[in-house]
Amino acid sequence: MATSVRASADGSPPPARPVPAPAPAPPGTPGTPAGHSWRSRLYRLDLKATPYAYIAPFFVCFAAFGLFPLIYTGWLSFHQVELGGTAQWRGFDNYTRLWDSEFFWNALRNTFSLGVISTVPQLLMALGLAHLLNYKLRARGFFRVAVLAPYATSIAAASLVFVQLFNPDYGMVNQLLGHFGVHHIQWEADKWPSQIAISTIVTWRWTGYNALIYLAAMQAVPGDLYEAAALDGASRWRQFLSVTIPSIRPTILFTIIVSTIGATQLFGEPMLFGGGLGVSGGSAHQYQTLSLYMYEKGWQNGALGQASAVAWVMLLILLLVGAVQLIITRVNRRKLGG
């Protein structure tokens, strides 16, 4: 720790550097006239420039590894380019090709449907779970850590485990369903079963995490709101709907945004769920997401320009989703304010 701090001190611009004197006098302290002005100037520089020095690492890192590549991807999306080769201007070719490509629309639809069935039940269950965890409980700590354990499991590990659980021939899910008279669901080969299975992986990994976020927000709701509601004769369910949910609305919105972003970039789960066929999203592309499609275009077909176009379509979708959510927030706020 100490060494890394020192390293950053060396890397920051001069004003932020430690002043050689062990205890520099604050401005206004009498000293030699020359030393005084030198120090006070240094002090003011320190005050002015230091904040920028502290936030600089983030913005430098973002500019280099976030913003620049983002723009460059946009530029690439108008070119035909292969790895190591030179780029050739193609205008909107990559985009029109996407528009005409059945596989692109398929990937877009899959991303959307996978997003919905992996996010909606997940957040609803997390809300319910948080509500229950908010009761006075024995073994409270255990339950909290237990529901969070899947979060500690990586995408790769979780996916490989669930591939086994969902195996149509010997997987435990079909064995279990067999007891209820449901047999031989093709969890990989059929479209909806495969999407449900992949959504299960996502849901399993994130429900507990979101539940804890909701729980924290619920605990910040003032108790007298509940008392007032109880005095008005509101049932528990009514209290949950009319007190809890409105009070934690910002948190709910936050989790919706985060999960939407996560769902848009779904990659590891479907890829590893499909084994050898993962990149194409199954033999009939039945669970190929936009991310997988992009990877297939860029790294299997070597068409980086087209892959870039897919990436930018993803960005546009996210911007669209963001705009919709912004509008919803505004409308909500106006409703609450009025």
Binding site: V5, A16, A23, P26, D46, P51, Y52, Y54, I55, P57, F58, C61, F65, G66, P69, L70, Y72, L129, H131, Y135, K136, F143, V145, L148, S154, A156, A157, V161, F162, V163, L165, Y170, M172, Q175, W204, L212, I213, A217, Q219, V221, G223, E227, A230, L231, Q239, T251, I261, Q265, G268, M271, L272, G275, G276, Y295, G298, W299, A307, M314, L315, L318
Partner: protein, 303 residues
């Protein structure tokens, strides 16, 4: 941080100095209720669903391939764990992968904690032009998916000859927006501005203030952030999968190699790999789970 949450909770669940008639009603308030049996049943089921796949990973990692593919599935651990470990170790570079993952996650979490604390401190307590706009920008960058940058990044690391080398994974994640925001939220509340002013009056320059005032106060949040980032970095898949290869993988990349390589797939070995990838983090969770829970919840309350 966790402390503050606990305190608030304790305060709330404390006895209410209300007249008896009112208490009858207030006892109905959701948050003050003791959990009923149904709640426990549901929570136990949730805990089982959360933990069972992990338990079954242990079972599968200690069985043979034949045992796994033969229903009904075995529910108790077998005796083949050591054999499977050896095979997994031979099939992919698992030892190297563990070392690589530790280096990457360790480096990334240290640097994120350091830079995020500095930036979080600046955003929370220092005054400068453009502060609010820049903070909004930080939060906005969280929404940009990594897919948007992988293609140029891959070209860059190809040009630099970094494909398959660890710096290609470490450098892009040196500091994350999430960390900056997390530390800002914590320091905005936890760090009294008087302390900084007092230190200034004493003539301390900014770095000295960071070292002697900010870091000591931020320490619990830094620890939590460090753990969260370590978990994230350890589990990161998309970019390492592209930038590294099976010769020099992280654990997650090696795991993908086990699951879809050229060799015949032995399911027990694959799940042994999953176990190897998961156990270090589960150990961390078992030891520090309470703090991680506190960190996640504390970060959310203030957002």
């Amino acid at each position: 941080m966790a402390h503050a949450v606990a305190e608030r909770a304790a305060h709330r669940s404390g006895p209410t100095p209300a007249p008896p008639k009112r208490r009858r009603f207030s006892a109905r308030a959701g948050r003050q209720d003791h959990a009923g049996p149904v709640t426990y049943v549901v929570l136990v089921v949730a805990a089982l669903v959360s933990l069972f796949p992990l338990y079954w990973t242990v079972v599968a990692a200690s069985s043979t391939d034949t045992q796994i593919v033969q229903p009904p599935t075995e529910l108790l651990p077998g005796s083949h764990l050591i054999d499977n470990l050896k095979i997994a170790w031979d099939q992919v570079h698992m030892g190297q992968a563990l070392i690589n993952s530790t280096i990457v996650a360790g480096f990334v979490s240290l640097s994120t904690v350091l830079f995020a604390t500095l930036a979080g401190f600046a955003f929370a307590k220092l005054r400068f032009r453009g502060r609010n706009g820049l903070l909004t920008l930080v939060v906005a960058t969280m929404t940009i998916p990594p897919q948007l940058s992988v293609i140029p990044l891959y070209q860059i690391i190809t040009d630099l000859g970094w494909v398959g080398r660890l710096q290609s994974v470490i450098l892009p994640s040196l500091v994350a927006a999430f960390g900056v925001f997390f530390m800002r939220q914590f320091l905005a509340e936890a760090l009294p501005i008087e302390l900084i002013e007092a230190a200034r009056v004493d003539g301390a320059h900014s770095l000295r203030i960071v070292w002697h005032v900010v870091f000591p106060i931020a320490r619990p949040a830094m620890a939590v952030l460090g753990m969260l980032v370590f978990v994230q970095s350890w589990n990161d898949f998309f970019w390492p999968f592209i930038a590294l290869n099976q010769q020099n993988p992280t654990v997650q990349v090696a795991l993908a190699g086990l699951g879809s390589g050229d060799h015949t797939i032995d399911h027990a070995v694959v799940l042994t790999g999953a176990l190897i990838a998961t156990v270090p983090l589960l150990l961390v969770f078992a030891l520090l789970g309470k703090h991680i829970v506190g960190g996640i919840t504390a970060g959310a309350v203030k957002s």
